[in-house]
Assembly symmetry: D2
Homo-oligomer: 379 residues x 4
């Protein structure tokens, strides 16, 4: 089986997310890493590309060069991952899609709703994929949650509670460091800080698991560190299109919550909860019965959870494997497209450009609500 | 040492809260149970009083009789606990205070702010105590949290997150039962349902631990079971008088959260969290350091936590002991008052009439905000 | 309902176990504390008795006086709890039984097998109860375990794993304190240290839950602190009379295990586990199915667990309530005996003199095995 | 940087361990998978090799062919992983070492002590590495444990408690399946079952973390399923060369313990514990102080733990990354050897041929002790 060529823009030396993409993309053997423009410094980009095993001619100085040269190759990359600073996502993703490449863009997909809409339209027009890296959706137990909701195990969903709150932004001294400070500077970070950095994952997960969209929001943005221009804490109520009541709390001030991404879903006849720090378990409580601890790898899990699984029950999987699940999905879909086939429905669970667009819409509505004294704003 | 006479109104056979008061009041030997009017059925009240070891003449048919007869006795009860339906709290507490009895009232103290203010004024005028049973504040580790905040261990408090969300109101079939249904009927339950039943505990705990008051709120009330007239889910943002950002989630729909009372407090240089289902531990994370598991009974705890402790570390204490702590506080304070002494400052940590009043104020503001599209309302 | 008179020998001021007995005995209202000889110092015994609300004439100077005076009273105590140093248990329990009192003896019941056999025979001869305080068996979830095993939910029991290992004896400096050092002095502590202090609880629990007896043992006694003459760590293999394989680990050296009493039982078609530090939950795994978290107070529990329950699910119960369960059992049994009735079978689950005897037999066999190079010794 | 060539014997389609080796070996980019003999069926071996991206000429029919052809290549594999049935480990590892290849052998390294000694000698003689896959030692938090012990944080180690007990062998019906049954057949499985399958990991971990060797053992082997000829449960006491008291429990009958590998180490002034199912945390309790939860990725960890780390704190790593750590170690060491350099001391923490030999020695002593009525046997 010939592997699909894969390229990476950004995510060079010292980048956590770059490592996770490289490790995740190769895990299941669908992709081969063949091209990169991983650093703004052309020399470093070259050195790091070589160190990662790229051919010299495919260690590019910048994404423009990569685009120009790759598009003329027969063995061009089939998927380009964009892991550059947020403000550049739109431009780069757009350019690659228009040149006929599929794109896998880091979150947030764009800085503004307009940009997001633009990518959505380009994706539709060109037929190129623009996936968004809500990587936590690749965990088998997150897929189990989605299956159970879709299957009606919980009945109609009454309430979803999404949290992504940790102590990442709690050390005031960090703000003296420009590599942190930019997050709270609207000219660099855009309309929001912790909401775009963390909360957006939890919001997407609420949509992913319930299969619903957010229709309206009421938000309170807090500034625990008062000097910050953008929020470091956000509590939002929301409503979803099938009537589900939503609650979001995202914060960078929550010292002691190491990561802090958690989802709870409560339906008419059951409740589920999951937390990223213990990703191999999911808690399921049927109404008036004991809570059950579902284990990744258990043979009682849904087809979608089994499909995302790799190793035996009891042996923990971690974040890189969740990323890998998205690459496996994308690989399957691209192969099906290349061969003119219809991809497996479950391979299409990767977060797509509509998801990316919807998230930015929600964030914009939250910003507006927070500015308007928490008045409700339609999405 | 002569024990203080204690009497109970309501809380008769089959009442959980009645059991907890009787068990808690006698645990530390400060009070002796000597009078009761525990059932609306005079016959049952008599039978149950006898079964609990009361003298026949002090098994009263109703609270009015109890008040009349007790006030003429030399050995009158010194503290009357009011564990009747919420709508009667004001009238009974008022009557006993005006007759010279100290009162320990179940929560919510009253149905309205006006009633609460009335009790506050009567307490001030008569000098009688009107304590409110936010019983969870009696847990040693809750007192440890308050000590640590007061001591500055966390620095200035940025965010407090209070939750009381369980599956208590999740079974739609229960609403066919009048003993459940009244909670959602405004003519019987007053202005709110889960907020008054559960959220009020979490709110008080946020105030208790931070030493602050709530100054404004923005609330979203949800009706997960649509037929209900009052809310079964409430998400509220709030602000406190020293600038702390507040978050409250209370729900009766959260299937799988067995109890669901949790408090998290995040300051400039540390965070703490505690949950009622595991009350003997508290988690403390100094900024940039590992989380520590503090154990009730540990010799490194604050004086206030040590004071509320009874048994050796590793042997769990439970809810009845938390209730007992409030009785011990009240016993100390009443003895000091009787002897003309100033009570120990830490004995005065019991939730008092101002706390009861403040809670009702907050609930009213939440109701108003929820009706007003989540607009902010001052408390 | 007339309460049963209760008396306490030992367990005076500052004694944890004395507090737990007093609190536990009064919790359910079956007993009234009316007599005591709680301190070896007659003056302190008197003062402390008064402080606990005893009549002056029933604050005795020593157990001999208590026995003499109580046996001549019409309103004599019906149950005497013996909470004195271990070496005195036999003599005191024997004397009270022979004088017609029921006895509730702290563990270990005696220092030697001979003494234990003696109490067993006296109990049979006199018809007086000699219960032993394996207090943890009073927890509702421990009773749930026993019910499930008896009900065959796990199938035949293959393996039982009992642990009681904490850091209680880990601080070498404590050995300079005579109040600690005696435990490791054979002339004062008898044949064993941590085995008698802690392990004996875990051993009894293994018997209690499986309904079996230990038939043979192979033991390794360790001396983590080398200066100690008696063991501070014991690993034992054992066999039970229905073929179950047994494993025991008890240690006082296990720093970080706050309490450390845990039971795991594995049968043909399911496994259960419980730990005293989280006593309100029990984990139950049917073969090839997800683990379930059973909650004290859940309506799906066995009759025996429901019977031992007091408060609503989600509100923790602790150790004092477990002790109280044994008092409730004893109260029921004594009342039935007094009235010539057959007591409820489940009230007879309290640990009795045969249990006390069996435990000492096992310990003796362990001592012998440890001395004999871990060779197997029949019990 | 040129990658090291890597080859795999066994571990073909459907093999969990094969997947884990392939995924782990490529994670850090030190090795490239270039040769394999992954199935006993030559056709399947070819097909699967191709599917994994091997060149046709390096998809070998059996290990003998692989050895013959690889040894004549200039670009020969530098490390051969042996993931075949246990009984073949010795022969294959020996042959590859003698032909000048480094070997990474699955556990147990051999079936007998004699075979193990043979590999030890061959490794010494040839200078070829024979590593053994005690893969769990690659977890960063296991390395943290070893660092803390070596650093004296716990003082002298008094007790080590190693467990590997799960429900893997609990379903009696599985024994009808030849793929399971062989484990309990001495002619196929050798001298022991669960001890060699699971317990051997826990034993090595006890040695790895304490830096000690086992000097004597007393073992009890149980047969929970009576038809089995080899043990499915083993409780062993042991002693280590610096006087540490050891306890091992390994079982395949422990329904509800999903994986069940746990290590606890107790020293004079502190205790630590870790469990494989939650591998990113480690619990550390200094004497008389609160327990701390150390997090993988925390900046307070030891150099060795930092070195084994890849992704940010809070993002779980799992088993494949632990395997990858051993490949990274081996890669570093092989490169250093190739270049004539001394490898980093911490890269030499991978389990080596002496560890493999020592484990088999211990197992043999356990077998002998169990047969001899648990009498102590020197290792």
């Amino acid at each position: 089986m010939k592997k699909l060529g894969w390229g990476l823009v950004g995510g060079g030396e010292g980048s956590q997310i770059g490592f996770a993409h490289r490790a995740g993309s190769k895990l299941d053997g669908k992709f081969q890493f063949i091209a990169g423009a991983m650093d703004v410094d052309p020399h470093k980009a070259f050195e790091f590309g070589i160190a990662q095993g790229l051919d010299e001619e495919r260690c590019y100085s910048d994404w423009q060069e990569m685009l120009e040269k790759e598009k003329n190759r027969e063995d061009r990359v089939q998927l380009v991952t964009v892991a550059t600073p947020n403000a550049t996502h739109h431009q780069i993703s757009k350019a690659f899609m228009e040149a006929g490449f599929h794109v896998f863009c880091e979150k947030p997909m764009t800085m503004t709703v307009e940009e997001a809409k633009d990518l959505l339209e380009i994706s539709k027009k060109t037929g190129q994929i623009c996936a968004v890296n809500y990587g936590y959706t690749g965990y088998p137990m997150v897929r189990q949650m989605r299956s159970m909701v879709a299957n009606g195990d919980l009945g109609a969903i009454r309430v979803v509670v999404a949290e992504f709150a940790g102590g990442f932004m709690a050390d005031a001294k960090d703000d003296e460091n420009p590599r942190v400070r930019w997050r709270f500077d609207p000219t660099q970070a855009g309309m929001a800080a912790v909401t775009v950095d963390c909360g957006i994952h939890a919001l997407h997960m609420a949509c992913f698991v319930t299969g619903q969209k957010v229709t309206s929001v009421s938000s309170d943005f807090g500034h625990g560190i008062k000097s910050r221009q953008l929020e470091d804490d956000n509590l939002s109520a929301f409503r979803m299109n099938q009537g589900t009541i939503g609650r979001l709390w995202t914060s960078g001030l929550a010292i002691g919550r190491t990561h802090g991404l958690t989802l709870q879903v409560f339906g008419e006849v059951g409740g589920i909860r999951w937390t990223q720090e213990q990703p191999n378990q999911m808690f399921w409580t049927p109404l008036n019965q004991p809570t059950q601890i579902l284990e990744r790898g258990g043979n009682y899990l849904s087809e979608a959870a089994q499909r995302a699984n790799r190793i035996t029950v009891g042996h923990p999987e971690g974040m890189v494997m969740a990323f890998a699940s998205l690459y496996r999905d994308l690989g399957e879909v691209i192969i099906a497209m290349n061969e003119g086939n219809r991809p497996d429905e479950m391979a299409c669970w990767y977060p797509n450009v509509e998801d990316g667009y919807h998230s930015i819409e929600i964030v914009q509505a939250m910003v507006e609500s927070a500015k308007g004294g928490s008045a409700w704003v339609d999405v």
